[in-house]
Symmetry: C2
Subunit: 247 residues, 2 copies
């Protein structure tokens, strides 16, 4: 039953050597293209990487996370207004798609397409991993994949047959992310209650120790997602949007 | 079989009066929270609207599309760094999440969560419709839902039991959105081939006539997604990001 498999899913970072046949990959992308999109303009593209030389070119942009080279297939999902604009210009129409709102619509389209792909892929026994590094290092990815004006990579998914069965990571309780009628801002006591279970997990206690921090939150703010990096990569990505014509 | 139902899915804009029980809605959101997210920070929230007075408040922000009032449930998916930042500050950590890169990560997280929700909901016989108006009129939605600093609505989904069975809209052929190893930019001939089938559909031919335009592309550029509106709503949304603290 689908809901059970969606509920039990996990990100897979290790893959067997089994390849993914083109016909299966195409079927999954075809299914994914049935996801909703803005005005049926389909403002997205996906670039499929199977070639090892190309994976090696992409790897540094993903801080050399091993999945880029060990997965049989790497998918780069792109916000793409280029195809639509070329069509419009060829049809005596004057597109005004070189702006931020189009980038946001195209990003949303790309993500719905990517997530529909991932659910379909997992249903077929594949494992997937999203790489959040894509928007940090969009510029070298644009170069490696030869992305034109009005095309920006927004996420990358590595795909293959699972070679491990990791424990499922925790999630916040549903009441943490759920608001009824209006957003109910969090009191200190609510925050404490909602994050308590996460903080008390042995894996997270060890994670704090390994990183020589006092609290789990500090691992995120001091090591994984620092203010300095967040601000640096914000400027870099805004510059990419300007260069690609969306800002 | 899931892949078939995903392949045959359609956006549903008309709903029966049957309500969605809380337990089902919670189950679907719980399943959806299993979608991948950035660093397991879950930078999203969902606001559930069932109350008619609140729907009436939201409706103008969605240009009074009837689904907002006729669907039993309206879900507003929000990029949310507020909860995480409050937690970090309470745990002796110094978050630097008031920036564009965090907004993008939170938007991606929200969209994967939203799309996983929609797939799960459809599997349970519900119908959904995404409203792209959310990023146009984020400001009145922020007011209506009382969204704090570092929270921005990015999409809205109306949900209910289907009261119609519309024809499935066309999609571009897979080769239009698919690139092997590198982005292959589109020649005029390729554009013509890829859009031909879409343009020759009777529904689209009629759509061009009804709108008194010469080409299908013009319906998009002159009526539905004009340069003027795209640029206006880009400025408005950038201002929302500044006001909410992401830019």
């Amino acid at each position: 039953m689908l809901l059970n498999s969606m509920k039990n899913r996990k990100t897979i970072r290790q893959y067997t050597e089994q390849d993914i046949p083109d016909c299966l990959l195409n079927e999954l992308l075809d299914v994914a293209a049935r996801a909703s999109n803005t005005g049926n303009m389909q403002l997205y593209s996906v670039v499929v990487t199977r070639d090892m030389a190309k994976k090696e070119e992409l790897a540094p942009a993903h801080f050399n996370q091993p999945m880029v080279k060990t997965a049989p297939v790497v998918l780069t999902f792109c916000a793409d207004a280029n195809r639509f604009v070329k069509w419009a210009e060829q049809r005596n129409a004057e597109p005004g798609f070189d702006n931020f709102q189009t980038f946001i619509a195209a990003t949303i389209d790309s993500m719905l397409f990517a997530q529909a792909f991932c659910t379909a892929a997992e249903e077929k026994g594949l494992g997937i991993c999203y790489l959040g590094t894509t928007t940090y290092n969009a510029s070298p990815i644009i170069d490696a994949l030869n992305l034109p004006h009005l095309v920006v990579p927004v996420t990358t998914v590595t795909v293959g047959y699972p070679a491990h069965d990791p424990a499922q990571p925790e999630r916040l309780p549903l009441e943490a992310i759920f608001h009824t009628e209006e957003y109910k801002d969090y009191t200190p006591e609510a925050i404490h209650q909602l994050y308590k279970e996460k903080e008390e997990l042995e894996t997270n206690i060890n994670y704090v120790k390994e990183n020589r921090k006092e609290t789990l939150a500090q691992v995120f703010t001091d090591i994984r997602y620092t203010k300095k990096n967040n601000e640096y990569f914000s400027e870099v990505f805004l510059e990419v949007l300007r260069k690609q014509g969306f800002l």
